[in-house]
Symmetry: C2
């Protein structure tokens, strides 16, 4: 069997240690082509570049990481996947992996996540796709403890396939231990962000704001990603891009419309 | 009963004719406060501004439109909603409406939509929210034929409430007729974009790309938004931000993990 072709991307940018670790982990499983943003794109959600030009550069960040080819792109994570599939790869990849994100994408964060938008973009194109995130925002975070689990999940995805219309959102708890971590399939926990805007005045007297906030968990379930992570497990949430709330259709059909 | 307080936003920017029409339509139902981007933000998905400063300006684009207050914001549609709720409004609004978008947000477009990201952001905060889009990209599009239906939907949302965890994605077909349009509750059609990258060379010899593409419908169902729109109906898709693919959990639990 030929080696699987794996498209690797992220939202922290092509030099991010989390991406470099993912390339090395994937190199042991298949042939790796990297298409990643040339600068950080965190919080970009599922943005695409429609009113601006896109640039691509063939580069090698570190030959030791062992990618077949690496491209940096001026666009968003979703742009990177589109460009990879349409312009840069010779054939459809067998898998697309995004990450490893520096920071959690569990719970409601999936909505804001550039990491997951790349995976979802690949999923829309019918490519099995997985986003990986480490619950540690540090640039020097330790990605090694997640290696075995990441490789297991990727191997299973290649062998078993991922259900149609579904991509995987994998979050890895922060740990320094070498012990293999357990893995739990979960649902997305209900939560939101309690934003606070930090209001400041610029040197020339103009008011501006920084978006800050605290994560607020609104869910006591023991089947959620947040619960699994809090117990030291890796969480896998099957995530879909058909956003239809089927259960609400009947109720809406009772509305008095077309009167 | 006090007039409902309605937060109005969009992704085409505060001067967009679609937003101005929505302000006028909402003015007949409640008190309107506008917080909208100071420049177009189409295709921004659910982006938020975390690595940059945010500016807000109190302005009046057209006093005849009748908003209580209007603010332009340097951020994304999701930023506008967060700022509106946390900083600018005296009380929690009874409803948030986003649009009227210049262009369709039906089917898979919901994923890329700044219009819908604003509505989803409000939904996450527990506020009934609706995104409205007209299937006409023209800046001078005619928003009037949709007026009656938009007001009906908003009135029903206020009276009946919108199911928890659900926001509405409303798309309005292009028409010049005055005849009231029928309304159908639908599911999101399966579709994707067949991208083509238009490769060009800049005056100084650098290669760049424009993202272009064709919408590809992959769904023959008669219960989809695309089908309803093709028959001249307004489509309402109940849309959720719990992205968990519950049906896939069982299958993933058969994977050989933690071996």
């Amino acid at each position: 069997m030929a080696k699987p072709l794996i498209l690797v991307t992220n939202d922290d940018g092509i030099t991010a240690p989390g991406l470099r670790a993912l390339i090395r982990f994937m190199k042991e499983i298949g042939d790796v082509v990297v298409v990643a943003p040339d600068s950080p794109q965190s919080g970009m959600g599922h943005a695409i570049t429609i009113d601006n030009t896109l640039y691509i550069k063939k580069i090698t960040v570190d030959p030791k990481d062992g990618a077949l080819a690496e491209y940096s792109c001026s666009g968003t994570p979703a742009d990177c996947v589109k460009l990879g599939l349409r312009e840069l790869l010779d054939r459809k990849p067998d898998l697309c992996v995004s990450g490893i994100n520096h920071g959690s994408n569990s719970s409601i964060n999936v909505i804001y996540s550039g990491t997951m938008s790349a995976a979802i973009e690949a999923g829309i194109e019918g490519i099995p796709a997985i986003g990986f995130s480490l619950c540690d925002y540090g640039w020097n975070a330790n990605f090694e403890p997640g290696k075995e689990a990441i490789q297991q999940i990727v191997r299973q995805a290649i062998v078993q396939g991922i259900p149609k219309g579904v991509v995987l959102n994998v979050n890895i708890p922060k740990t320094d231990s070498d012990t293999p971590m357990g893995i739990k399939v979960c649902r997305q926990a209900r939560a939101n962000w309690k934003e606070e805007f930090d209001k400041r005045t610029s040197p020339n007297g103009k008011e501006y704001y920084w978006l800050t906030g605290e994560f607020e968990l609104l869910d006591n379930g023991e089947d959620t990603d947040e619960f699994a992570l809090s117990k030291g497990y890796i969480s896998i949430v099957p995530t879909q891009f058909d956003l239809t709330a089927y259960h609400a259709i009947q109720q809406l059909n009772t509305w008095k419309l077309n009167a």
